[in-house]
Every structure is written in C-alpha cells, then in structure tokens.
C-alpha cells in the first residue's frame, strides 16, 4: 500500500507519546549502576587496613602517601595505626593497581563520580575524608565479593570480607 511506511512511522511516534519517557533527570534522580561500575573515588576501611603500604608501593604514579605510627593503636595486634593516608586524585589515573594489591580488602574503588572541583589542591583526598566518606565500594578488582546475586552489595561491606 502506498504511504504505508509513513503511517507506520506516525503510529510509532504516536505510541511514544503515551509511553513513559526514558529520560533520567540526573541531578535529582540517578540511574542505577551495577556493582562493578568503577567511579572516580576511593573507599577505605580503616579497621581492615594494617598500614602495610602495599597500595603505595604498587601505585605507578606514587599518589598514595602513608605515614604509620605503631603507638597510635598499640593493643590491636599486628597492626599499625595510620597518621596519614592521602591519595592525590589529581595525579591518579585510576588504574586500580592499589586496589588489586591490597591483601586485606581494605581499599576499594568507589561508585561515586561527582568529584569535580575548582582547584587541584582540593583533589587531594585526606585520611579524615576517607574515614567519613559515604562508603559505596565498587566490586571492580574483587568480583568474587559481590555475591552470587548480581546487584547484591552487602558482602562487600560485611565483616568477613577482609579476613
């Protein structure tokens, strides 16, 4: 039939008119991301970290600075207390080698990606920031940790994750 293609196309657009739009209104609502999605931030669990500085050794750019002090936590077995744990994300290339190197699952890549700042100085992530940060670890480099169910994230933060 002549004009069938045009009518079909008109039908397609008309059906879109009554569908829910696919748009996600970004700043107000966020699209769900998968557990292995790797953002631009680090998640650090202080109770698992022993201060071994593997991450700092494996970092190709040397962006991690660790200063340990055994006198800060003298009674917690074979574990150093940390005075400084700074990550210069301005120089970091987010290769994730530090996360792979960590033997105690204390360091993760995070799922957040809203880290735009106005100065280079503020891209330095200090230890207090890492302590207080909203922890949304990504399963990148530790896929076995996010459980059998895809989308389940509890096992990443469970107490037995690191030990």
């Amino acid at each position: 039939m002549y004009g069938e293609g045009i009518l079909k196309g008109l039908g397609v657009t008309l059906s879109y008119l009554f569908k829910k739009p696919v748009t996600v209104q970004y700043p107000e609502e966020k699209a769900p991301h998968y557990p292995r999605f790797r953002g631009y931030e680090f998640v650090w669990y202080e109770d698992r970290c022993t201060g071994c500085a593997s991450c700092a050794k494996y970092c190709p750019l040397g962006t991690i600075k660790i200063v340990t002090n055994p006198e800060l936590q003298p009674n917690v077995g074979n574990k150093y207390g940390l005075e400084i744990f700074d990550i210069d994300t301005g120089r970091c290339m987010f290769c994730g080698l530090c996360v792979e190197a960590c033997p105690y699952d204390a360091l993760f890549m995070g799922s957040g990606f809203e880290r735009a700042t106005y100065t280079r100085r503020s891209m330095m992530v200090h230890i207090d920031e890492l302590r207080l940060a909203d922890k949304q670890p990504s399963a990148f480099a530790r896929p076995h940790l996010h459980g059998v169910e895809f989308g389940e994230r509890t096992s990443l933060t469970s107490p037995e994750a690191g030990r």
Partner: protein, 429 residues
Amino acid sequence: MAVSALATGCQPPGFFDGQNLWHEWVVNFFPRIGDSICRGMGGHADGGPPNWLIYLVLGFLGSLIVVNIAALGVPFVVLLERKLLGRFQNRIGPNRVGPFGLLQPVADALKLMTKEDITPAAADKIVFALAPLAFAIPIILMFAPIPWADHASLANLDIGILWVIAVTTAAEAGIFMAGWSSNNKYSLFGAMRAVALLVSYEIPLVLSLLGVVLLAGTLNLSEIVLDQRFAPNILWQPLGFFVFIIAVSAELNRAPFDQLEAESELVSGFHTEYSGMKWAMVQLGEYAALIGFSAIIATLFLSGWKGPLWIPGYIWLVTKMAFILCAFIWVRATIPRMRIDQIMAFGWKFLLPLSIINIFATAAEVIAFPDALPYWLIPINIAFAGACVVGMAKLLGFQPKTRKIVIPGRPVIGDDTPGRIVPLMRGGN
C-alpha cells in the same frame, strides 16, 4: 469600505435587544465589545464623534487584540512544540522553568532580549535589518480576515483567501532578503531553496483552495464558514484537503519540507547570521504563520468557528487550531527531511495534477448539483480522492523498481549470473 472593525461596529438598533443572557454575551463576545465601545463613544448620533474616528478606534483595538493573539501565541506554540516533540521522541521536553516548564517562553524571551544583536561585517546592513520585519509583518497581516466567531473578523474582506495567499507569499521576499544580505553562502542556499519551494508549492496550494471556493461561491472567509452548514468541507473536499495540508507544510517550511533551514546541512539556512531580537522576529514570523495557517485550514476545511455544541465560536476555532498544530508537530516528529529534488518532483508531478483533478471534479459536482451537494457524494468523494492519490502514485512510479547492476571483475566459478539484483531507489542508487 469593506473593513468591519470588530464585526460591524455599531449594529442597528434591535440587533441585540431583548436578549440579555450571559450566554449570548459570551457567544457574541467580540461583536458585543465592538458595539459597546461604539455606543460608549456616542455612536452615529448627531453631535457624536465622526464615523472615521469610531472606525479608527475600533480598528486599532481590534488590531491590538489580533496582533497580540499572534505575537503572544507564538511563545506558547513553541513551548507546545518542544514539549510534544520531546514526548514523541521519548523525552520529557522543557521542564526546568516554572511548573511543567510553563515559564519557558518567558525565559526564552528574556534571553533573546538581552542577547547581543550581531550584524556581520560583510552584511548589507540596511537589508539585513529590514529582512526580519519584511518577513514577520506580512505574516501578521494574514490574521486580518480570519473569522474568530460569527461577525468577528478584524476585516471582513471579500477577497479573504486571496489576501491570505498574497501576504504570506510576500513574506518570502523577507526570507530572500535575509539570505541575500547575510553574505553567507549557506544563508543564500537557504534563501534559494525557499524561493524554489515557494514556486513549486504555491501553485498546488492555490489550486487546491479553488475547490472550496467553487463550493462556497465566494472568496470571503466568513461566507465560506457559513457555507459549511451541513458538513465541514473536508468531507466534500478530501482530495483538496490532502493537497492543501501538504502544500501548507511546505509553505510553512516545516518538516519534511524544511530544506531551507535544514539544521544538519545549512545550520539554519536563511537566518544563520541572525541573533537577538532580529532572530526573534524571524521565529515570530515562522510560528505566527503556523498559527495563522492552522486557523485558515480550520476555517476552510473544518467549518471554522462553527461547532455542534453551544460553545462560543472562538473556542471552537482555537480547539480546531490546536488539533491541527498537534498534527503538524506529529508529522515533524515522524517524517525525515526530503531531498530538494524529491521535494520538487513531489510538488510538480504529484500535487499539481491532483489539485487540477480536484478542481475539475468539484466543478462537475457543483454543475450537477447547483443547490447543495447531496450527502451520498461524501463516500464517493473520499473513494475518488483515495483512487486519485493511489493512481497518481502508480502512474508516476512511486514504487521501488529493480534493476540489474553488473559488477565488473572476474566471474565467480559456479555463479552464472554476473550481476546482482538490487532495488532501484527513487532518484537512483
């Protein structure tokens, strides 16, 4: 003097007497207002103001109303178009400014007013500044003969349709001025395409109108509306409606005929170099033409301000206009842009013969039934229109043919056909 400012100014005594229902007031809103102003000024009595002054005041007020319908309607039509286009494309559309984005026109207007008004150094300055006016003003003139209700047109012109066609055609001069004076080759491309489109589509546009004119026996838009007292003209004139609505969308430079401002190739065609309020004038002209032509389509083919229910005529007209606007937006959201040679071929080979067939068929019907067309002609007319469209498409070969392309080179062993059959697209592969 054919001008009837806000209907016929002072009505003769007794025209409204004895009917004080609010409903009658609402239905005859525009004539009532005109009558009240006329009486308030003293009417035609001795010692009152001279008649020319009354006509001047009434004409000025009526022009103010109609021009503001055009100028203030445009931002909201733009908003409607953006919203609907968004929904047709599975998006949301503007929703940042105000509730549901309703204040978006205000934000747009403020932005345009505060924008820098740039004139290119190489442009022809005078023509460049005049072109938006030459484009927008004739479009606004088009609103004069549209009947918004019974006895409520700004100018009850006896040559209403001719006036509309004449002023909208004059607006094309503004497009060519804009394209020429910008001193930019893409603007000039857009302007040349505008002129080509105008020449191709003005003829089927006017010829498809003639069917309606033959039925009504007049060019007066108010009379044409009154003539559609049994059924809207779309039922008597399906072929004319088909040709007219396609030719109008070409005349309005809308998709799929928006070759002259094709964003992907010509940036914006003739108004590439415009910014600020000059660009706003161009946009005003385009969308005012959209509003005006939807009013014309409603008037000519959908029985204008007349409706089956006791609802005021202007509300009927605006409702029909809204439907036509939505249909235009729907088509724009669906059909991709045609190539310029396809547009030309479509206009000259397809629409023009159809409109001529329509004239002769309508003339034969009017001669056969001089008083009024019988109702049993409606299905016949619709079937005739469908047969004409399909037959013309068959005659012109608007279907993919096949042709054999011989691929040169060494023949493949076991393959005894040294070519392959590919569908022949219109315009060549």
